[in-house]
Structure formats: structure tokens, C-alpha cells
């Protein structure tokens, strides 16, 4: 059996003059949970929709569960489940009616009640969709995605705009699917989500893959044990700071300096001397362990947090 759930080579997609995807290669193993990260407009959703068979690539080879959409669409749709970034389900139907409708399209669906139970919406089974909260709607969208008992599940920003509690509830659902051996491909703006759920991450920017690996590998690739965040008035120049021993990289974000450093005990006193040297006054100083957000910032010059706010 083909061990790759998704095998993509040289994927291009153009919309008129706009190049949305500029040569993407992906290989995702069965049972993996992979996160696609990237700024808005990087091509995450386009990639996902091509994998879902909703868009046709301009060029490139796409094999999903060992098959091609062009020739095996009917068979593939039976085996793939998905939740679009935002789907407005029918407000006047109840939760149960909605799940039952989608279940009827599949050859071997889950029992309707089981699909509802997996997303913990039992109490809302008889409620109209129009009365659900944002988090409950997203869980319903996931119930609808998994009612066909898919081998491969695509979730496009499943938790965007949800409160932390609803987000965690959805994480449990996805973790449960992983535990059953379902391959999951998701996009997200939340680095915490990516770290918790994903075995592997793929960062896309301007239609290209710019990094891939496990969350731990990616953070390790920064070569920095700590991040110093500081605000000073006036601040030393980036050039001076980057020559400080043990400083790996200097970046600015929202008027704040972010310094990725190898050894804090060597870097910090020297950084403070630089601030003193330009007669600066410290307004903020803190240190922390590097996160995926630092990986993202280092690669794209933008923060995942900004993207999250833009999306919300």
C-alpha cells in the first residue's frame, strides 16, 4: 500500500497574471498530522483546495491517497473529509438533520449520533444551526467533515476566531482523529495549535515552501536558546547589536527589538552595555524561550500573531 497520503510535485497555480503557487512539493505520510503555516495570501488555502479537488492546478502532479483527482474524483470524495475556512451551514436545519444530510452522501458513513458525539455536540443535536455559537458551528463543520469516516481530513483554519476554550475542545477532536490513524492536514494562525497538534509543519510564503520539519526541529534551527525582547529610547542600531557576542539575529517588531541569542549569560550584559553606550533608557526588558512564532518571524519577517489578528 502507498504510504504517502499526499504526494505533490512541482505544483503551480496561476490566476491570470498572479502566481499563487510557485512550485510546491509536498509529501505527507499516512497517519501524520501536518500543519501548513504562512502569512495571509501565501497560498495555503489554494494548496489545500487543490488537494481537496476543488481547484485544478495550472501545472504539477498531485496524488491523493495514491490517486489523481482528474481520474478518480468520485472514489476520492468518498475517502476525503474537509472543513472549508468558513462554511455557512443551513441555519434552519438542526444539528442532527445537517449531519444526517451529509452522512447520506457517503457509502459507509459513521452513525450520525457518533459523529455528533465525537465533536461533543450531543446536547445541541436538536438545536437549529442558527442558534449555535461560533465554536459550536466550527465543531459541527468538523462533524460534517468526519461523518464520511475519511482516511484523510483537511481543516482550513479550524479554530480561527474561536475563544480558547472552544479551541481546546476542537484540539481534542483532532487529537482523537489522529489517534484513530486519520491523516490530518490543517492550516492555522496559532503557533500553540501547530505545536500541540502537528507532527510536522510546512511553512509557505509567496507560493513556495520556505521551511519544513517538526516543531522542535524548526525551533532548534534558529540556533538560539533564548530570545531577548527589549525596548529602549533611543535604541542602539541593529548593526551594533548583531555584533554582540552570541547574538544570532536581530529583528524589530512593533517598536520592540527581538534578539535571538545562543547563550543568555554572555549576550545580555553586552546588550545592556550597548544601550548605555548610546545613552538609552530601557523601557522594557524580558527574555523567553524561542517559539514557532520566532521561526515564522525569522523566515517571513512577519509574525504569526499579526496574521492572526488580520484574520480575526
Amino acid at each position: 500500500m502507498d504510504l504517502l497520503a499526499i504526494d505533490v510535485k512541482g505544483l503551480f497555480k496561476r490566476f491570470g497574471d498572479l502566481v499563487a503557487l510557485d512550485g510546491i512539493d509536498l509529501s505527507i505520510r499516512r497517519g501524520e498530522c501536518v500543519g501548513l503555516l504562512g502569512p495571509n495570501g501565501a497560498g495555503k488555502t489554494t494548496t489545500l483546495e487543490i488537494l481537496e479537488g476543488l481547484q485544478v492546478p495550472t501545472a504539477g502532479e498531485v496524488r491523493v491517497l495514491g490517486r489523481a483527482w482528474a481520474t478518480d474524483a468520485d472514489a476520492l470524495r468518498q475517502r476525503v473529509g474537509l472543513a472549508l475556512q468558513e462554511t455557512r451551514l443551513v441555519d434552519l436545519l438542526t444539528v442532527r438533520e445537517t449531519v444526517e444530510l451529509f452522512a447520506s452522501f457517503y457509502a459507509r458513513p459513521l452513525p450520525v449520533d457518533e459523529a455528533i458525539a465525537r465533536v461533543h455536540l450531543e446536547e445541541k443535536a436538536r438545536a437549529r444551526v442558527g442558534t449555535l455559537s461560533g465554536g459550536q458551528r466550527q465543531r459541527l463543520a468538523v462533524a460534517v467533515a468526519l461523518v464520511g469516516d475519511p482516511e484523510l481530513l483537511f481543516l482550513d483554519e479550524p479554530t480561527t476566531g474561536l475563544d480558547p476554550q472552544s479551541r481546546r475542545a476542537l484540539w481534542d477532536v483532532v487529537a482523537g482523529l489522529k489517534a484513530r490513524g486519520c491523516t490530518v492536514v490543517l492550516t492555522t494562525h496559532y503557533m500553540e495549535e501547530a505545536e500541540v497538534l502537528c507532527d510536522r509543519l510546512i511553512i509557505i510564503d509567496r507560493g513556495r515552501v520556505i521551511a519544513r520539519g517538526t516543531p522542535q526541529e524548526m525551533i532548534a534551527s534558529l540556533g538560539a536558546g533564548q530570545v531577548i525582547e527589549l525596548e529602549a529610547e533611543p535604541a542602539p542600531s541593529d548593526a551594533r547589536l548583531s555584533e554582540v557576542p552570541s547574538v544570532v539575529a536581530v529583528q524589530r517588531q512593533d517598536g520592540r527589538l527581538l534578539l535571538r541569542v545562543g547563550e543568555l549569560h554572555r549576550a545580555l550584559p553586552a546588550v545592556l552595555r550597548e544601550v548605555e553606550g548610546v545613552g538609552g533608557t530601557l523601557r522594557h526588558l524580558s527574555t523567553r524561550r524561542p517559539t514557532l512564532d520566532d521561526v515564522f518571524l525569522g523566515l517571513t519577517g512577519r509574525s504569526l500573531r499579526d496574521e492572526k489578528e488580520k484574520a480575526a
Binding site: 481537496e52 479537488g53 476543488l54 468520485d74 470524495r77 468518498q78 476525503v80 474537509l82 472549508l84 468558513e86 462554511t87 455557512r88 451551514l89 443551513v90 434552519l92 436545519l93 438533520e97 444526517e100 444530510l101 451529509f102 452522512a103 447520506s104 452522501f105 457517503y106 457509502a107 459507509r108 458513513p109 452513525p111 450520525v112 460534517v144 464520511g148
Partner: protein, 341 residues
């Protein structure tokens, strides 16, 4: 456990129609309200007796008695001054001044004066054996009143608008909310999806017909001269045709605002032109061929033909063929242009 997708899709459509107060209003309440308003507004009054005045004086009593034999005359006895005042105000149609030669005074600008003169002449002429009184039988039978004309036209109008809107608007909303895209990503058969829309529309069109015909019969005594079966067949063909128009019109729209505009543009001309409220004969001759070709015109013609004249489907072959031709055009266009995303 697996349920039939067509049944599930049909259930979804029926639930949506049934749970939507707007749909219920436009399907059932609106045509009833319009027919009540228009039926009452155009109900013509039965003419009362013609009022005439006799100027008091010699011979007035005898004259009054002779005129009393005519039931369509109402005779007042007034003073000369009062009689003329009422004539000038139009309260009486004629003033009779008894005397050696009976004098009749009328206002020449009022038509009632002429009726009054004829009625008075007939009442005063000596009865003769060879001159039988002509008898008039009042005719205002169900089937020939304005409300009879209106009811089938309103049913046609209502079928057009409910078919276009209940077919098209949900599709626009589903496309705008990406539900069409989501459904397109399931193994759902496209044919099942459209069949469910068409079947649900058919069910509601028949309910609409039964409800409206029952109302027209109970409230106005509007008869069904032809066969209910043929009538139901025409209703279904009409709903199919206009459902196709809705599907076609909505095949690419994804926002409510543009939907409103487009649906009004495709339906509004027919509301006024296709013989809903008044007969086509009132429209200029050069426009007739164009208007006869609009799909609502043959639908109204067929509904009226069956309901009021008992026409059979064979005599309605031409309008039905026009409807069928439009249906083919609409569905072919919809299949060609329909967008799932």
C-alpha cells in the same frame, strides 16, 4: 446505517420552505390578500332604482300611482323649488310637472335622465295585449366577473414569483456562504441536488394551487369548469418552467443584493404585461406577439382556459408548447452556466 441522499436533500428543501415564514407568506397568504383587495375594489355595485321627482299639484297623486307600477323607478313628491334644486344637484334624474300636458325636465348632461325618460314612458304607455313587457334577467354569474378573471392570473403570478425566488434565493445564499462549494466536495450527485429542489418546488406548487383554489371557491364562488388534473399538470409545468428561470438567473450570483435586482428584472415585466390584472387586449397590438411569447402569458392563458372555460390540454397545445420551450431554454442555460464555487 445509510439513508437515501435524494430523500435527505428533498427533506432539507421541504424543511427549509416549511420553516421559513417568508416563504409561507408569499406562497399562501400574499395571493389571498391580493385577490381580496382587488376582488373587492373591482366589485361593481348593482344599480338601484332611478329617482324621479313629481312637482306637487293637481294630478300629482294620480301620476305617482301610475309611475309606482314601474319597480325601477323611485318617485318623490316635492315642491317645484325643491324638485329643481335636487335635479340640479343630481339627486333626482328627472322632474315631472303634471298638467294638461305632462312636462319632463332633465339635465341633458346626465345619463340617468335618459333612463328615467324611458322608464317613465314605459310606465305611462297604455298596456296593450300585443305588447308584452320585455323581461330582463340579471346576469352576474360566477365565471364572468372580474374576480373570476383575476384568480387564475394571480395563481400564475404567484407560481412565477414563488418558483423563481424559492429556487434561486437559497442557491445564491448557499453559494455566498460556500455551502455549494462544501457540498461539491462531498460525493453528492449533482443530479440529486437539483432534483430535490425541483421536487420540493413541485410539492409546494401543488399545495399553493389547492389552497388558493379552495380559497377562491369558498370566498368568491370561483368555479373550476375544467379538470383539476389538467389544471394541476399546468401548475406543475409552470412551476418547472419558472423554477428553471430561477435556477438560470441564480446560476452565477453570489450576493443577495445583485440577486434582488436580477430576479426583479426577469419577473417584473411579466407581472404587468402577461395578463395578470387585465386582459392582453388592452395592450397595443404591436406588442402582442412579444408579450404572447413571455412565459407567464401562456401559463395564465392555460390556467384561465381550464378554470373558466373548461379547455382541455389539447386545445391548449400552443401555450403549453411555449412553456415547455422556455423550460428547455432555462434548464439548458442553468446547466451550462451553473457555478458551484
Amino acid at each position: 446505517m445509510r439513508t437515501n441522499p435524494l430523500v435527505q436533500l428533498l427533506l432539507m428543501r421541504l424543511r427549509l420552505l416549511w420553516r421559513n415564514p417568508g416563504v409561507l407568506f408569499w406562497t399562501f397568504v400574499f395571493p389571498v390578500v391580493v385577490s381580496m383587495v382587488l376582488g373587492t375594489a373591482f366589485e361593481r355595485d348593482v344599480l338601484g332604482p332611478v329617482k324621479v321627482a313629481i312637482v306637487d299639484g293637481a294630478g300629482a297623486q294620480a301620476l305617482a300611482e301610475r309611475l309606482a307600477t314601474e319597480p325601477e323607478l323611485a318617485v318623490l313628491r316635492l315642491t317645484a323649488e325643491e324638485a329643481h334644486r335636487q335635479l340640479s344637484q343630481g339627486k333626482v334624474a328627472m322632474v315631472l310637472v303634471p298638467g294638461p300636458a305632462l312636462e319632463l325636465r332633465v339635465d341633458p348632461s346626465r345619463p340617468e335622465g335618459r333612463s328615467a325618460r324611458l322608464l317613465v314612458e314605459s310606465a305611462l304607455s297604455p298596456p296593450s295585449a300585443d305588447r308584452k313587457r320585455l323581461r330582463a334577467t340579471p346576469v352576474s354569474e360566477p365565471g364572468s366577473r372580474y374576480v373570476d378573471f383575476l384568480i387564475p392570473g394571480l395563481l400564475g403570478l404567484s407560481l412565477m414569483s414563488t418558483s423563481v425566488w424559492t429556487m434561486a434565493l437559497p442557491l445564491v445564499i448557499m453559494r455566498g456562504g460556500k455551502l455549494l462549494k462544501r457540498l461539491g466536495a462531498t460525493p453528492m450527485r449533482r443530479g440529486h441536488f437539483f432534483a430535490a429542489f425541483a421536487l420540493a418546488r413541485g410539492v409546494f406548487a401543488l399545495l399553493e394551487m389547492v389552497f388558493f383554489c379552495a380559497f377562491a371557491r369558498l370566498a368568491y364562488g370561483v368555479p373550476m369548469v375544467g379538470s383539476y388534473l389538467a389544471f394541476a399538470g399546468v401548475v406543475l409545468l409552470g412551476a418547472t418552467c419558472f423554477g428553471g428561470l430561477g435556477l438560470f438567473a441564480a446560476s452565477r450570483i453570489d450576493s443577495d443584493e445583485s440577486a434582488n435586482g436580477v430576479f426583479n428584472v426577469v419577473t417584473l415585466p411579466m407581472v404587468f404585461l402577461s395578463g395578470v390584472f387585465f386582459p392582453l387586449e388592452r395592450l397595443p397590438g404591436w406588442a402582442r406577439p412579444l408579450i404572447e411569447a413571455l412565459p407567464l402569458t401562456p401559463l395564465n392563458a392555460a390556467l384561465r382556459g381550464i378554470m373558466l372555460e373548461g379547455a382541455g390540454l389539447t386545445t391548449l397545445a400552443v401555450p403549453l408548447a411555449v412553456l415547455l420551450a422556455w423550460s428547455v431554454v432555462f434548464y439548458a442555460g442553468a446547466l451550462r452556466f451553473f457555478r458551484w464555487v
